[in-house]
């Protein structure tokens, strides 16, 4: 796929990953997560044939659907965040900008290490890894943690697709993504038990 499309995908990933950090409504989180997998699909296409790259987007959308369906069945309000976590949108936006800057700086060297995967691919991948780690660092709620882990994995998968074309790896990573979504759903249901009981 042409390189300009890859840069469009990177822009999409910047919007979705930053959006995932900023939004508080779970519906937007799921929508942004699903959109993120479209960006991931485009970047994976730089190295993989369309058939294999589709596996990523299909597994990602299925995972997003699993999380969304589970969340829709739970109480409407999100459980309160522990007070030690920074919650302000401005803080998150600032942190996201820092990640963006760090990623821009390290992209050339990582691209060199990863057998010249392509600037767009490396940049998009590192961006997702960084934003996912940031996400994991500032929340302890199950849905954001699951989304954070899926974001980190999505970033890693983009980068790894540039050096590994095994069908088995693609299949196992898809299974892991779906498994992560199922585990996230399971933990969300379990978290909700206490709230339901306390009502």
């Amino acid at each position: 796929m042409a390189i300009p499309f890859a840069w469009f995908a990177v822009v999409l990933l910047i919007i979705t990953s930053a959006g995932l950090l900023l939004v508080r409504d779970w519906r937007w989180s799921i929508i942004l997560l699903a959109a993120q997998y479209v960006g991931m699909f485009v970047l994976t296409l730089q190295h993989w044939p369309i058939g294999m790259a589709s596996v990523k987007v299909v597994a990602g959308w299925m995972s997003a659907a699993i999380l969304g369906m589970t969340r829709s069945g739970l109480s409407t309000e999100d459980p309160r965040e522990e007070s030690i976590w920074p919650r302000g949108r401005l803080f998150r936006l600032f942190a996201a900008v820092i990640i963006l800057l760090i990623v821009s700086v390290v992209t050339p060297s990582v691209d060199h290490i990863m057998a010249d995967a392509g600037f767009a691919v490396t940049n998009g991948s590192l961006l997702l890894i960084g934003m996912g780690l940031l996400h994991l660092g500032i929340t302890a709620r199950i849905l954001p943690v699951t989304v954070g882990l899926m974001t980190v994995l999505a970033g890693f998968e983009i980068l790894y697709s540039s050096v590994e074309g095994s069908v088995l790896v693609a299949a196992l990573l898809a299974v892991i993504n779906l498994g992560l979504a199922l585990v996230g759903s399971y933990l969300m249901l379990a978290s909700n038990t206490q709230e339901t009981e306390s009502l």
Binding site: I113, I129, L136, A140, I142, V145, L149, V152, L153, F156, L159, Y160, V163, E164, S166, V167, L168, V169, A171, L172, L173, V175, I176, G179, L180, L182, V183, Y186, L187, L189, A190, S191, T193, Q194
Partner: protein, 465 residues
């Protein structure tokens, strides 16, 4: 018939089928018997050899091709499979006594099968994917749908998941190092990636904070099972890296790093255990020290270290099983496992109390117990290399011993004239009794398991020869 089908696919299917069984005893017995069966086949039926059974000829092939890649169980790995499934049988038989059979047996089978797949998959660095799948299956085992998950479960999921990308990228980088061994920058990058991956997987200091949390939140028996299987397979997987890459094997920096990390785990595990006031957290730090012992074994001359590493495995499996079962029984009878609440519990759960102390002492290398022979050999070998290291190992062991004696003091400190009212049921008494006898047998006669352990180093091409 082929080996991966028998020891990977069949146990996964079995685990799925057992999900539909709700009877604790049936599950425990069925799971235990199947695991014993798989262990016996692994030990006594040779791979790649045609056998005549009446008019039939039976041969177990060693490989299975899945999506263009190979799952390969080499004939030399038969003893390892026997050890893994044998220890699994022990955990499954004890599951009824701990009342965790409905969760432990079905998911335990799937986890063990995936761990075996991690050892069998070629190229071997794909093992990280199978280990991650096993971790995902472990989550429903650790927490039920009826109780909110604690911080330990979430951290366990995060830390173990983060390990996978590091190891996969490290594997790819290592191939580059092999092609151009002079590239020092690439070597450093791949070693750093590998180190991070294994630090997450093995819960190396300071990434082990999920272990004490898990032992506070979840069933000790289920957590104990994970603390046995995950580090055991991960260490073997790690040894596979050393076996595969000669520059890693011959790197003095890596050996020193392994030694220091191992000592850090032993000393921090022992020191933290000594100051804990929660019986579950003491077990957590005991298992952390166990991982440290394994890393120390890997840091020795491989001809000495690899046999010691394998000698540590059965002691760890049995010790953790007895410890975890004892804690599960104690937990049933107290409000919390804090010292204040568990005071005098020996009068209510005498065997569980004794089991816990014996298992702690075994981890702390107390003479005549299962952990002693391997640790003695380790200590002696370590002292030949560095007396300081041997001294630090002793400090860790003293910490573990202190925790054992503190626990003993607390559980036996009942009020005056308190009568003995044992509440353990028959299954618990039998399993704890057998477990403790096993700990003594392995301590007194370490050669008992030599028929299993002697050939294990053969699974590596370069290590231990």
């Amino acid at each position: 018939m082929n080996a991966p089908t028998l020891w990977i696919i069949v146990p996964i299917l079995l685990g799925v089928l057992l999900l539909f069984v709700n009877n604790q005893r049936v599950l425990s017995v069925l799971g235990g018997l199947f695991a014993v069966g798989l262990a016996l086949i692994a030990q006594f039926v040779p791979l790649e050899v045609a056998m005549k059974l009446g008019s039939y000829s039976l041969k177990i092939d060693s490989s299975l091709i899945v999506l263009g890649r190979v799952l390969l169980i080499q004939p030399a790995e038969g003893s390892l499979l026997a050890l893994i499934y044998g220890a699994a049988a022990l955990w499954f038989f004890g599951a009824e006594a701990s009342k965790t059979a409905t969760r432990l047996v079905p998911m335990g089978f799937m986890i063990i099968a995936l761990m075996v797949a991690a050892i069998a998959v070629q190229p071997f660095l794909y093992a990280a994917l199978f280990i991650e799948m096993a971790i995902l299956i472990a989550i429903p085992m650790l927490t039920t749908i009826y109780t909110p998950p604690g911080r330990g479960v979430v951290r366990f999921l995060i830390y173990q998941t983060l390990a996978m990308p590091f190891i996969l990228v490290a594997g790819w980088l290592l191939a580059g190092v092999e092609a151009s061994p002079g590239d020092l920058a690439l070597t450093a990058q791949s070693a750093a990636m590998l180190g991070m991956g294994f630090a997450f997987l093995l819960a190396i200091f300071p990434l082990y904070n999920w272990i004490p949390l898990l032992l506070e939140e979840s069933s000790p028996y289920v957590v104990g099972f994970l603390l046995w299987i995950v580090p055991t397979i991960t260490i073997i997987f790690g040894a596979g890296f050393l076996d595969r890459y000669s520059w890693l094997r011959s790197s003095p920096q890596l050996i020193i790093a392994l030694r220091y990390i191992g000592l850090l785990m032993v000393v921090s595990g022992g020191a933290f255990a000594a100051f804990q006031r929660h019986l579950g957290r003491i077990m957590a730090y005991g298992s952390i020290a166990e991982t440290g012992f394994s890393l120390l074994a890997l840091s020795l001359d491989f001809r000495l270290g690899i046999p010691i590493l394998f000698l540590l495995i059965p002691a760890r499996a049995l010790g953790l099983a007895v410890w975890a079962l004892s804690l599960t029984i104690i937990k049933e009878n107290v409000e919390t496992m804090r010292f204040g609440a568990a005071q005098g519990i020996l009068r209510i759960t005498p065997l569980a109390g004794a089991g816990m102390i014996v298992a702690t002492l075994s981890t702390a290398a107390f003479p005549l117990l299962a952990g002693f022979p391997a640790r003695l050999a380790l200590w002696e070998s370590l002292s030949h290399i560095s007396l300081n290291s041997a001294l630090w190992m002793a400090i860790g062991i003293i910490g573990l011993l202190t925790s054992a004696f503190r626990s003993l003091a607390v559980i036996s400190m009942a009020e005056e004239y308190t009568s003995w009212k044992p509440r353990e049921n028959r299954a618990q008494i039998i399993m704890l009794g057998l477990g403790m006898i096993g700990l003594f047998i392995l301590g007194l006669f370490p050669q008992t398991l030599q028929f299993l352990l002697a050939d294990l180093p053969l699974m590596f091409e370069h290590l231990g020869r």
